[in-house]
Symmetry: D2
């Protein structure tokens, strides 16, 4: 198939490359020329403008957006609207908030342009191992894109699926990331407990043992074993954990749906906590203990 | 009444003083001579040895232990055993683990000595405002000590009670402290949220407002207002929160009783967390994010 | 002072009554005629329409809204706009989301009408004990309302204050309720632990003991003692805990501000959990245990 | 090698069978005759008494205990002591508390009998896929058992290892199970959120998608997909989740080591909560809300 890939950052470039390998024609567009040049080496066509990228495609056109979630998506859709015509398809493969996705699909629908949302997992390993994709949109439209998903997935019939209407793909990916937070935190806590114990445990060895036959074996454990092999004491790494937004949305969504999700929630809070070394709350606790019990305050 | 007070630290000295004010005769004993001298100024008799303190009492003798929980209590009981005789009473007014209390009561019972456990709350304010006391032991024995409790409590008939058999006093006090952890953490989190918000709120003012008429008014809030008046920005205070053991016991006990107590539990964990600025788990999370997503690691 | 009180439900009627007792003239309006008749008996004037209530006031007019948070506030403000003129004041004394409050203040400001937000705590006890009020708005405007706050508060100079600009009053009240959730949950867990223990504890007695001299004494504990006196086994009460919205906002706000607030958060989740007796997640856990370990599934 | 397998329940029988397949001679003993008969069909020798099992072995003898953790292990060790002689080896392959394991090793050492602890993961799938084993004990002793571990593991050099001194194997397995609780809870929460959402998601389909290429792929997810394929609505399964002890130990151990492990801890509490449909704490919360706010109580 022919498609435009808008955004050739790490994720976009890798997906475009995997599509080219799968026999598709990819017209790439990115404001960063260096990125465009690198993409060209992989067989991705370069297009200096969005309009040119769209023009280079046969109808109905397929435009795949692979850019950071947020206002940039709205901006691109506004730019695309006059360039697209009936039955064209705009795919958002990033981590958009699913409510934004539903709203955008309604906007595009007014111009008879179809929206498809693809929640994409796989990270930097996707190029090599294939991407896991949760697809939201109209059934016929999603079906028409099948060759693309078959090329991007680990296997033609594995690792992707049409999960529901517009927004359902991003919703499912959001929950996926919430689960990811919880799993990561579970491992992190377990290894921290072992690190503290005076058994002088070799944490890389234990991760390797668990990778084979244990109940906790997983791809995240494989990566953990990798990380511990390279740097068992995690020297030089700050205890500072970022979050990219999807965890927060999952927590808010769970509350809105009135589902108690304590582990996913605490995983997010732990990340916030990791970035708060000078907690006002903890200082106040120390001051309160001093007030009622005369307990000594540690100077800070 | 006549009694020996063993341990004249902050809590013991204050309680002895309040008993003296209540018309009781208190024979004090403490290895620290300076502490003994200060107690003497408050009308507390000094006794250089445990044996002398016991000898100074009429039978049945009442020995009140007010020392740190743990092996010291066992040591003192071992020392007391040969000094005591039938119907004497040993009171443990400290924060002993209630299971130890049950065990010690059985030991003393073999010599026909009675044990009484007094879970004592009130901190440094007890001297002035009276102590809240949860008493465990045999009914007749506890009844015989009524004049002491009436003098120590805020009012003769308020703030104390016989709550159950040996151990029940310390058990109740343990849960009291668990609740205290949860309340403190709730306030700390609320004030931390307000401190972060760009409304330039005066946290001392808000604590004062809440002290009158609000649903969250409490003695802990009064103390929080005090602390915030003295030091609104909590400058010079480290975000480091100690714990004295009773919170851990409450958490373990809740699990043993199969009662889910997430807030009391998280209050304890937050204190542990406050003392772990260099968390191995958080470093591992950062390393894992780098492995799967190529996310940058903050250097530490 | 003269003011209109719009909404004469439990909170509005009690506040109006306390204002009348304080010597103010209150013109009441409520769509429910029965409620209006009851208010009239307390000396509150009745006004059949919002327009008539406004007309009955001298300028600058003061209109106090005491209605459920949400769209009704917007509807009332839309109705009020043509009725009000420069320097009139609209007070929102309910539990509005503070971001809505900021937005509404901007709308009113365009017509030179002033907005004031009053976060009000005290519940059904406020009539008798006075209300705790956190006030947001312009300084001169809030100052001009001082006589009203002095009458409503527990004491003229206690229990209320001007905490910041528009929205700051509702923000502070929101956090107050978050803290309230945490404190309530801490008590609930503590009493549940004691209820489960085989010491046959009298929970009402313990609540009473703690009310005097203990570190956990509070108004919520006073009410807990009341509740346990009436119904110590809590017979006939479903383990079903509602939430009114402010807890959720506090949790979302904490995440937005990147403050980790685990105890307030878990208090909310516990309430959600109480309404989920047939948890899908728990069923899945049981099914998973069966899959990997052959553990028996309890039939449901 | 020759060894006795004491306890031929699900785990013991499967491990014995895998050892026989690996060319080892296994003398089985179990009080349940039916179980012994079934084992005999798999090539496991039957021994009616513990003494006979021991007698059937060449020296140094290897006795592998595969029975439920707790007093039964102590009982068996007491029975074995007179039967064993210098350099014999007792392996505890069950889920013993690691502190018990350390104590038992010291007891056996006094008779110059060696103890080895094998934390064993793999559940009912171990027979087919191999077991993951974390081994604690003296290096030379563990080395002498290598052929057994190589047969039991998924591969000769994968999925097992000597992790430390006596107790270290069980300690590591305990933490493994703590992590398992956290991962399971993360999945359970995520699927519960998706189940609640009105996108009519096919949860089995989503589990299958995630199995390939996603960040959350794992063996537990494979099993979850299996469970959801058989019973997508989880009909007939009670929301009741048991726990087998290792989660509790992990939580207690984390607290003892002063490592904050909120996710593992909350995973345990959620299981306790699943077995408390009639929570006293939730009833009290409802009663408190009624006291201060006049909020209606749901009848129970």
């Amino acid at each position: 198939m022919d498609l435009a890939m808008v955004g050739l950052g790490r994720m976009g470039a890798n997906m475009a490359e995997r599509l080219v390998r799968g026999g598709h024609r990819v017209v790439g567009h990115d404001p960063n020329e260096e990125v465009m040049a690198r993409a060209a080496e992989k067989g991705i066509e370069s297009s200096a403008t969005l309009a040119a990228a769209v023009d280079a495609l046969p109808t109905p056109r397929i435009v795949w957006l692979m850019v950071p979630a947020g206002p940039l998506i709205d901006k691109l859709i506004t730019e695309l609207e006059p360039l697209l015509s009936q039955d064209d398809i705009v795919i958002d493969g990033g981590n958009s908030m699913y409510k934004d996705t539903v709203r955008r699909a309604e906007t595009l629908q007014k111009r008879q342009v179809h929206a498809v949302d693809v929640g994409t997992s796989g990270g930097v390993w996707g190029l090599q191992e294939g991407y896991s994709m949760m697809v939201g949109g109209e059934t016929a439209v999603v079906d028409s894109l099948r060759p693309l998903f078959e090329s991007l997935a680990p296997d033609a019939d594995k690792g992707w699926g049409h999960v529901g209407p517009n927004g359902a793909g991003h919703f499912t990916k959001m929950v996926h990331n919430g689960i990811e937070y919880g799993m990561m935190q579970a491992y992190a806590e377990g290894f921290a407990i072992m690190e503290r114990k005076d058994f002088d445990l070799d944490l890389h060895q234990i991760a390797e043992i668990w990778r084979h036959g244990s109940v906790v074996r997983s791809w995240l454990l494989d990566l953990t074993a990798d990380a511990l092999e390279k740097n068992p004491s995690l020297e030089g790494i700050a205890p500072y954990v970022s979050d990219s937004g999807e965890g927060r949305w999952t927590v808010n969504e769970a509350i809105e749906l009135e589902v108690s999700a304590p582990v996913i929630t605490l995983s997010l809070l732990e990340r916030l906590r990791s970035r708060e070394p000078d907690s006002y709350g903890d200082k106040l606790l120390s001051a309160m203990r001093n007030e009622f019990g005369g307990h000594e305050i540690k100077k800070g």
